[in-house]
């Protein structure tokens, strides 16, 4: 029997991983309605993230941020042919099941929404739809993979238009992976304890020198140069949240960020791509945020 025939069983992990691998080199854009979704698709987005408010709006308005109305996600699914993702709260497995019933292509268990569980993340192996999770370092990345995440992204600091936290998280991942490859086998258990990560996954990364699932960048990306920087630091693709539709000319900026994700190591092209895009979204200095306003600290 093929996987296709048994509709109720989760597909093999490789099938979930397959879609994550196909998003590489692309840009996933936050959209709040069908019109934005069409602009994103037309600009060359490889997927859209459907949500009711972009992170900068959530940050401004405050209150509890929850998964979006299924009717709104449905309208976006109908508007575009590219994959549609949607966010659920950390630990809120029922929101995830609802998004699965809605047949979104990917679920983001996201710190941008208000966490529903401060101790437990969702058991992502139990879902048929692949799940992406945020991480700030290698230990957190491996805990999420242990729970069944098929894709990782940096948390960055969403809704700030400030790429500094995403860069910090990418650097941490790279540095910690590089360090693992220098350890002897008999040092890996102590390292697993320090990282708070499953030993088998620590050993796999030490052997291969890379994560077993793709890792993308997210959180604060506002310009083509930001996207290219994240790609150059090892992110295989980028999520752009508030950075596109809170800018002066979203369609032009979206097209430019798509091109920058492809030609990220070609400064001549990046120069041409970056010209005349209008104003970027207003940015926030991280020092202006109170500790409780830091979204990256949500989850563990």
């Amino acid at each position: 029997m093929t996987e296709q025939e048994d509709k109720n069983a989760p597909p093999s992990f490789e099938v979930k991983l397959g879609l994550a691998r196909m998003l590489a080199g692309g840009v996933i854009m936050d959209v709040v309605d069908a019109e934005q979704a069409r602009i994103a698709e037309d600009a060359g987005a490889c997927a859209v993230m459907a949500l009711e408010r972009v992170p900068a709006q959530i940050r401004k308005e405050g209150g509890v941020a929850r998964a979006s109305d299924p009717a709104m996600i449905e309208s976006i699914k109908q508007a575009v042919s590219i994959p549609v993702m949607a966010k659920c709260r950390i630990g809120h497995f029922v929101e995830a099941q609802i998004l699965e019933a809605l047949e979104v292509d990917f679920i983001d268990e996201s710190e941008v929404l208000t966490p529903a569980d401060e101790q437990h993340h969702i058991d992502k192996h139990a879902l048929r739809v692949p799940v992406v999770c945020g991480c700030t370092d290698l230990g957190e990345a491996l805990r999420r993979i242990g729970e069944g995440a098929a894709l990782l992204r940096t948390k960055g600091e969403a809704g700030t238009g400030n790429v500094v936290e995403a860069v910090r998280h990418l650097r941490a991942l790279r540095g910690q992976i590089r360090r693992l490859t220098t350890l002897e086998d008999d040092e890996l258990m102590a390292e697993a304890k320090t990282l708070g990560a499953p030993h088998a996954l620590v050993a796999a990364v030490a052997r291969s020198g890379k994560l077993p699932v793709p890792s993308f960048a997210a959180g604060g990306i506002a310009t083509p140069a930001d996207a290219a920087l994240c790609r150059a630091l090892g992110a295989e693709a980028v999520f752009v949240g508030s950075g596109i539709f809170l800018s002066e000319d979203p369609a032009t900026r979206a097209r430019a960020i798509v091109a920058a994700a492809t030609y990220y190591d070609d400064p001549r092209r990046l120069c041409a791509i970056s010209k005349g895009l209008g104003k970027a979204m207003p940015g926030l200095e991280l020092g202006e945020l109170r500790p409780e306003q830091r979204l990256a600290a949500r989850g563990w």
């Binding site: 093999s12 099938v15 739809v129």
Partner: protein, 203 residues
């Protein structure tokens, strides 16, 4: 040298499989890089994204020239859609014909090769010159027309090297591994892989 069209999509799995076949390969994004290659892989990804990047960076003409030069081309999933749109293959393709990601699956072709179908297209009409290379439950999933091979699924995700060797073997000295990679891989794929008990990349 095999070029893997590196605009958007699953480039790395193709590079890894070509390395395993001992076929030298590199990502290509520029006209000059492409024209220097002896074969081309057009990978999966989002066909809409790939089409827009080809138009924006004026790569259509050089792709046409490459294909018409007779050098071998392997196109997977979105690449197959691109080849159909550009008339490199005389086929009609229905995008996302198995539905969304919840309809994605892994299976074997009727002659036993492992393929992943990820939001995959179906071949709906084949022109008279199109040769069927593989079927799943009787439906064509891999085809050839002259120098172009197209496949609805992803042999690079299952690690089954058969189609790469068939399509691109003439572009270099392809050496098939003695024990097909797929035999071991597919065994892992037919059940739910839980990294808590089975670390990915363990093999």
């Amino acid at each position: 040298m095999i070029g893997v069209l590196s605009l958007q999509g699953g480039v790395e799995p193709h590079l890894a499989l070509l390395r395993a076949l001992q076929l030298p390969a590199r990502p290509v994004r520029e006209a000059a890089e492409l024209l220097a290659c002896s074969g081309l892989v057009w990978p999966g990804g989002e066909s809409t994204t790939q089409r827009k990047l080809i138009a924006r960076f004026a790569l259509g003409g050089v792709l046409d020239a490459f294909v018409h030069s007779g050098r071998p081309v392997l196109a997977t999933c979105a690449g197959l859609i691109g080849c159909a749109e550009r008339d490199y293959l005389d086929v009609d393709v229905e995008r996302n014909a198995y539905g969304r990601q919840t309809g994605s699956f892994q299976t074997r072709t009727d002659d036993g090769h492992a393929l992943s179908f990820i939001r995959a297209p179906k071949l709906r009409h084949l022109g008279p010159e199109v040769q069927v290379l593989a079927t799943v439950q009787g439906d064509p999933v891999a085809v050839r027309e002259r120098n172009v091979v197209g496949v609805c699924g992803h042999p690079e995700l299952t690690g089954d090297p058969w189609l790469h060797a068939l399509a691109l073997g003439t572009a270099g000295a392809a050496k098939l591994p003695e024990a097909p990679l797929a035999e071991k891989k597919i065994a892992d794929h037919t059940r739910v892989d839980d990294p808590r008990t089975t670390p990915p990349f363990a093999s």
